[in-house]
Each structure stands twice: as C-alpha cells, then as structure tokens.
Symmetry: C2
Subunit: 206 residues, 2 copies
C-alpha cells in the first residue's frame, strides 16, 4: 500500500537514549540524533515529533525498563528476599561501574538536570523511583514476614535508604570515586538493615 518504515522504533529509541544519557538534553543536537540513528530529520519528526517528545519517549522507555526490572528481580518468597535485594542492588552498582563511560542511571541524571518546568519528565522519573521503592519495600516486607528482618523495621524507610544509596553511588561514580570504595559504602549501608536471625544467616551465605 505504502512505503514501509526502514527502521525499528525500539532500536531508534535505544540509540536516542544512549545519546541523551551521554551528552544530556541540551548537549545533544538533532544532528547528533540523526547521526546515531542514521535517520533524516524528516523521518524523526514524522515518527516521534520534536526533540522533546523524542526525549520523553526515550526516558519513558528507560524508566519502564528499569522499574520492571526491579519488580521482576525483587518479587519472590521471603526465604531469599534478602539475597534478592543484595543481588538487585549489586546489579545496580555493576550497571554503573561496568560501563566504561560510567553514565549511571538515566532517571537519576535527569532528576538532577531536567528543567523543573518539565512536568512530564519529572513524572516519569518520580514514577520510576516510586516503583523501585515499592518493589524494595515489598521485598523487605516479605523478608520481615519470613523472619529475616526485625518485626519493628519500617519497610518504606529502609527501601528509601537503599535506593538513596544507589543513587548516591551514581553521583560519586561520576566524580571518579574508586569502585572498591563505592562497593564498601554500599556494603555498609546494607548492614543498616536490622536483620533478624534468619536474615543474618542468609547474608552470611552470600
């Protein structure tokens, strides 16, 4: 009927996401985007709208992916809830330090950088963090139910603490902190969890 798309939406958005994460919003021009996607401006505008729309699409895709990842990695039984959290949070560290450019979390970056008048970006980021916090809290409460976490522990607060540390590590990584020191910092923060008997046993096995 008509000429078909020569590109895959998702591949294009992946390239756009990389670009925005690498150079920031103001730092990437449409020429940069055209270069990394190998598309012309006309195609980009027809398919995605203007630069800001493209940014929101890329950010939304990232946030959805990361929130879904948290939910899938953290959901499970109380028996290994502590181990799941440990693995998940360690995965976040590796996400930063295994990247040669140490770009860190895109949501974290634009939580700091995005224009405060950009309500749509702020909403995407806030929802991403909220889902990650909720997944951590649910995992903490599963651990609590099982007897791995003290009964008086506040899951919401501890979830916020863990997520905060991971966000902080992104920033410190950006300033060139030593990877081992960052891992030690995370390890210490994790020990702030008031583990009950079963939780301590679980942690020792890691």
């Amino acid at each position: 009927m008509a000429r078909p798309r020569s590109f895959d939406n998702d591949q294009v958005l992946a390239a756009v996401e990389r670009q925005f994460r690498h150079d920031g919003y103001a730092g990437t021009s449409l020429d940069d985007i055209a270069a990394v996607t190998r598309l012309g401006r006309g195609s980009l505008y027809a398919a995605f709208g203007d630069k800001h729309e493209l940014f929101l699409r890329a950010l939304g895709r990232y946030c959805e992916r990361k929130a879904a990842e948290a939910e899938s990695k953290l959901t499970g039984p109380g028996e290994n809830a502590i181990a799941r959290m440990w693995e998940y949070l360690q995965g976040n560290l590796r996400f930063v330090f295994d990247d040669p450019d140490r770009l860190g979390c895109m949501a974290g970056r634009f939580a700091v950088e995005a224009d405060r008048s950009d309500a749509r970006a702020a909403e995407l980021i806030a929802e991403c963090f909220a889902r990650q916090r909720a997944a951590l809290r649910d995992c903490l409460m599963a651990a609590q139910q099982y007897g791995a976490l003290e009964a008086e522990a506040d899951g919401d607060e501890l979830a916020a603490m863990l997520l905060t540390v991971v966000r902080g590590i992104d920033v410190m990584a950006g300033s060139g902190i030593d990877e081992r020191l960052a891992e030690a910092a995370f390890r210490h923060a994790f020990t702030a969890l008031p583990l009950a008997h079963r939780g301590k046993q679980e942690l020792e096995r890691l």
Copy 2:
C-alpha cells in the same frame, strides 16, 4: 588613575553560581548571566574570560566554600565527634530541603551533568568530595580514638558511605521525594555506623 570597577567580584560570582545551579551550564546563556549580574558582556569578558571560565570560577568558589565548611564543622575533639557528624550531615539535608527550588549540591549536579571532557570541572568536583570525605574520615577516627566508634571500623569506607547517602538524597529530592522519608533514610544510614558504647550514649543525647 583609571575608572574603578563598579562591581564586586564575589557578588558577581555568587549571582553566576545561582544561575548555573538553577539552569545548568547549557541552559544558561550569556544574556541570562548579564541579566542576573546586571553587567554587560564586555565587562564580563574583561573580568572573567569566557562563559566556561566564568563557570569554573563559580564552581570553584562553591567547592572551596563547601569543602572548607566540612572541615570547619567536623574538626574537633573525639568527645562530640559523633554529634558533629550528625549536625553536619543534617545541615546538608536542610541545605537541600530548606531551598524552595531544591537545587541541591552544585558539585553533585555537575558531577552528573558536566561534560566528561571537562577535566577542570571534574577536578574541582573530585577535590571537593575528597576533602569532604577526608574531613568525615578524620572525624570518625577522632570518635574511634575516643571510644565512640568500634575499633575495627574503617573510617574511609564509612565516610564514603555517609557522603554517598547525602549525594543520593540530593537526587531523590530532585525527583520530589517526601522530606520526612529522606530524613528517615538518612537516619537509617547513620545507624550503619558501628558505634561503641560512648558513641551510643552520645547519639541518645541528640
């Protein structure tokens, strides 16, 4: 002999700092800077050089101020070292949350946002964080000496942990986290310090 300066360097840099913190590097134009300083472009270029030089001057001024603040607030005897750290870190929280715009730490912002090719900015930021960490470590070791912190505790790692949490709170604040939750997150992270007997007593008095 000649016409005197009509402005004070430090006041101008203070206004420039505010502007860069508010809108970021790419987000502020020279017209913005001219507006907030009430100076013409010619004066700005003659006094400070180009935009990037002006940015480095403002960032350097901020970093020096914050590093010196950490050193002055944290230096002291072991008897109240835990209390000093608590006050200092709480001050960092208030620095974020008492600001209606919640701009957060300038060094943290540009640790994330700055072009990685900007070696001079990276150096200023890294040195700022290094001095803050060193001040925290020295304070922890004073506490240790006094018997407020367990003898086996690693001051470098714990200092990195505390600083990381504070940087993370900046990011979370930018995403609109509730202030009380952020304070709770900080409180929990602080309890990760392996306090010895005297330290626990000291903390209870706060």
